[in-house]
Symmetry: none
Subunit: 233 residues, 2 copies
């Protein structure tokens, strides 16, 4: 009887279509202006402004003022995680539409979840990392000694990651797959490193498009041991 209103106040904020559109538009971790968010949500500027004020007051968003613009971003990965969880729930319970476009397929394949890799590729990465003994644990993930060597070799400064307050490894439930992908500081660093390497590029929105070398490199690095076959479609 006490918890209900607590979660209700947050859920009610996510329960308005305009606000939900705003939040999903921000799910790629980037910051957008009020005007951009108004267009994404399909409402007028002043309506969006009102919504953003509420989301900001609830600390779901953070605002940064730059000149005449005001940039909003999600206040943290946990917001994105909740949104992903809600999408997964909506899909399982049948609230999602049957209509699936090409953009939907691309989203399913590889996308950004706040700041790390999600979708089929994201799930495959964590699965392979587990199988290769790089990462241990089921719900709470931990780097193995072998994993530390691997990711250091991949070009990631683990010591720097561990200095931050953010957990290095975190399991994040994928809404399109049914399994977890790798979030946390390591997940973010990995995505950043893979983009640096030219393995993929960010399109508009959350879609990640793999390059040819990217597919090659990704499958070489995160291949299930003993299985050379790639998953072609």
């Amino acid at each position: 009887m006490k918890e209900g209103p607590v979660i209700a106040s947050v859920a009610a904020l996510l329960g308005d279509p305009a606000r939900a559109n705003i939040l999903t538009a921000l799910m790629d971790g980037r910051a957008l202006t009020v005007s951009e968010l108004a267009e994404a949500a399909g409402v007028t500027l002043q309506t969006a402004s009102g919504h953003l004020a509420k989301l900001d007051a609830a600390n779901l968003l953070t605002a940064e003022k730059q000149g005449r613009h005001r940039y909003f971003r999600l206040s943290g990965p946990d917001v994105a995680q909740v949104l992903e969880a809600l999408m997964g729930l909506a899909q399982r319970t049948g609230a999602t539409r049957v209509r699936t476009g090409p953009r939907d397929a691309a989203l399913r394949s590889a996308r950004i979840c706040y700041d790390h890799l999600a979708g089929e590729r994201g799930v495959a990465l964590l699965k392979a990392a587990r199988q290769q003994g790089l990462i241990d644990g089921d719900r709470d993930l931990a780097l193995t000694t072998k994993g530390r060597a691997f990711f250091a070799d991949f070009g990631i400064d683990l010591a720097a990651l561990e200095k931050g307050r953010r957990p290095v490894c975190r399991a994040c439930l994928d809404w399109s797959e049914r399994h977890s992908h790798l979030g946390g500081a390591l997940g973010a660093a990995l995505l950043s490193r893979m983009i640096d390497r030219g393995w993929m590029r960010r399109d508009t929105g959350r879609v990640l498009t793999f390059t040819c070398e990217g597919v090659e490199g990704f499958e070489a690095a995160f291949a299930p041991p003993g299985e050379g076959a790639s998953q072609a479609a």
Copy 2:
């Protein structure tokens, strides 16, 4: 722009205080009746009924009808997971438990459910029968060969039971324990036989009072799996 409304429809359901109270009350995985949920939510019966219809239509809950009662439970662990994530976002303060079931300890211990044994003893009976390999199946129960021998030896005419239209074994949801106990023709015959043996007697109302020999005999026949030995299976 398409995903927003999808998550909004789900989130809006969680965004009402009464519904949020209902869902949090169900978070422990047990099933509760409409009345109990109405009290937990702090609304009247008809209001709760309306909310439950919506949550059921959205497949967030599943309903089980049992006589005059309708038991609701979360439709899956993912629902609870979303709620937990929301609580985390809302900086939860502490867990709340909903008082459920009868206040009367005697009723809780052993009572008649229609015509068979219910309460702690009833749940223990079915649990033991499963563990001893007398009864098989999860939702739909069935007698094993070993079970047929056991109950025949107990003094029950299984052939007669099977002639009737009534199902021999039936899982019946216990309203104080929130686990199943044994109903059906066999459940009724068992209770009748145990009363004949002097294991228990009917008080006024539905309370069943075990005699000393009853406790002894009951625990010998249906040894609690957690007694002394470990629960490994």
